[in-house]
Symmetry: C2
Subunit: 358 residues, 2 copies
DNA sequence: GAGTTTCGTTAATACGTATTAGAACCTTGA
DNA sequence: TCAAGGTTCTAATACGTATTAACGAAACTC
């Protein structure tokens, strides 16, 4: 690729501090001092300052983020690195609200966002250490995605580069902002028990992410607390025939199903379709609770336009909080709580009712 | 702020090329040549090369991406500036597929994206000239959003800053990648006429964007070509009572309605609701065509799960193509077609049928 | 009026890598 | 023996900004 800074022909080269210096009749150092805000002990004549500012304005100067960064300063840019595609192609892009929150808070804090792309490409591999290292052009970086290579993250920790993970992590020393899936999931089980359900099944996908493990732990904890039967509680959906599963459950006297909500939402949509195919209605024949309401699925519950019962994942707030935490880390603040779990809002919804009496 | 590069106390400084050079007993230049792969005309002794590689391996060298970018005069960063919020909060974020396309192509081309939020740091509005000028931190920039302040754009053109608008623009000298709404809309009218419709109405929102104007022009052109009645063809929805409108249309013998699809999709959803309230079915009682199928509205057509008839806006491809065009502009290529209109895919759909015979 | 402080500015350098223009040495051919 | 050419490497510099040390001039002290 041709150099950006030597555009052939018409296009003017982008102005740098030395250009301003020439126009204003001062040195590059002075320009830097004026634009950067004087360091302690430095003072500049008001008139000189104004001349520099005018020249900068006239030339349309904007600092080069890379050079600024190399000279070791902050450039008001936060990185955003996703281990899956940042903008997923399928409709159920469950991460979208996180982006909204990140953008909101970044804008409010006067930070721009650098979206690091290519993290999902097969060629370099998502966790390619060299790929992750790019994030250093930013002052700090947010990471998200369910599956994360540990090696590059460890490197960043060693180097002392400020970053925050969106979603709970097991590795020590990794700052994160996550959701308290354990409590929220236990709460869902408690509400099912309170509604009278004694035989409940938990449908989750085959997944190793912490977010999945936390939900399962919460469900099991809630089941124990409710004293209900827990044998065979958990079922994974890899290749399962959901229609057969549903029949078996009903035959066994299962009155409620808890479904994990993941990126794809495959388990939920699959089960919903099975319920409709069986000619059943929810919550009349079967109560349904969802752990983390799917973003696009409002009013899509089988057999009506009800909102799913369960809880809401505070994705937007996670995004916002992650930005705030990252900025404090960048600022080098002491005593910041670097591992945070946000509470999930319970959703009463319309897909859970008392079990039908035979 | 603490420097990232001086990890306090024990942590050893990251090795750089000069460290390798010292260990291997060569110059920094040689290290760079070895690690980067020799440039044309350069040759290195196999033995030297190996010594350097060994030293690099032993020291755990990883190139500093910031320095690399500064030295190669290529930040590999494209800007993305939206005149509305980059990540709209509401569900019908019709721009989303554009983002998908932009990210895909940027990743494929090894470019990162800088997202500008409009109101940054200065706290000024989205269209503020000072705000727009900030995009110059990137090598080039993509713009999108229906309503655009012209002044800052003109300024960028003057300065020769490479940028591409996503969506057609009227201003001369503004490179863009848009969709050919005129042809596509005319095509929809032609298909309606071919299906036997003689009395058609066009419902659009009150809007000044080129995308709206193009659709109207296409509809009118298509109507003329079909020789149908065009009097009172166009109706705008600002505050209109859609139920009354619908009644009138049916009384007049209107058999098909063409609806413009915009950001909000208000016209379409409003009309759909009116049709359902009137107890009518589509396409039995009224054919419905949409100019640019709404992203989230698949299977939401009134009275059934049909796909809307009309055309698809190739948003993803627009995003990809815009990135490609921008990179060619940045490279200073000559003879690039800088104003492109992409064809829209016709969608047969299920909401258009032959008019009902009385 | 010599010494000290303060003010306003700049020269020099650092950051880590890429690239260009040779230097030093060796081989070859006449 | 000398010029021509090739091979292997390095010195110097560029990239654009931040920072430190220092300098000249003016203002103050005694």
């Amino acid at each position: 690729m041709e150099s950006t800074r030597q555009p052939g022909g018409r296009g003017r080269r982008r102005p740098r501090q030395s250009d301003i210096a020439r126009v204003a009749g001062v040195s590059q150092t002075t320009v830097s001092l004026v634009l950067r805000g004087t360091t302690v002990g430095m003072s500049l004549a008001r008139e000189t300052r104004q001349r520099v500012l005018d020249a900068a304005e006239r030339l349309g100067y904007v600092p080069d983020p890379v050079a600024t960064r190399l000279a070791s300063a902050d450039n008001a840019m936060l990185g955003l690195y996703s281990f899956s595609a940042t903008f997923p192609t399928d409709v159920a892009h469950s991460y979208y609200p996180i982006l909204v929150g990140v953008e909101e808070e970044a804008a409010a804090q006067g930070q721009d966002l650098i979206l690091f792309t290519g993290s999902s490409r097969t060629g370099t591999g998502a966790g390619d250490p060299a790929s992750v290292r790019r994030v250093r052009v930013a002052d700090g970086c947010l990471f998200f995605g369910r599956h994360v290579p540990e090696e590059p993250i460890r490197r960043l920790v060693e180097d002392g580069f400020p970053f925050v993970y969106i979603g709970r992590r097991d590795e020590p020393d990794v700052p994160y902002v996550g959701a308290d899936y354990v409590s929220a999931s236990a709460g869902v089980m408690a509400r099912l028990a309170a509604a009278g359900h004694r035989k409940v099944r938990y449908l989750r996908e085959h997944d190793q992410a912490p977010a999945s493990g936390d939900r399962e732990e919460g469900v099991l904890r809630g089941a124990r607390a409710a004293g209900g039967a827990t044998a065979g509680l958990v079922v994974r959906t890899d290749g399962t025939d959901l229609d057969a599963l549903l029949r078996d459950w009903l035959a066994e006297g299962v009155t409620a199903v808890v479904v994990e909500q993941t990126d794809t939402g495959a388990a939920l949509s699959g089960l919903g379709a099975a319920i409709e195919r069986a000619g059943l209605s929810c919550p009349r024949d079967l109560s349904l609770a969802v752990l983390g309401a799917p973003v696009g699925a409002r009013g899509r519950a089988p057999g009506g336009g009800a909102v799913f019962s369960g809880f809401d994942v505070p994705m937007r707030e996670m995004g916002r909080d992650a930005v705030r935490l990252l900025l404090r880390l960048i600022a080098g603040e002491e005593g910041v709580r670097t591992r945070r779990l946000l509470p999930c809002e319970p959703v009463a919804g319309g897909t859970v009712a008392a079990p039908r009496r035979e």
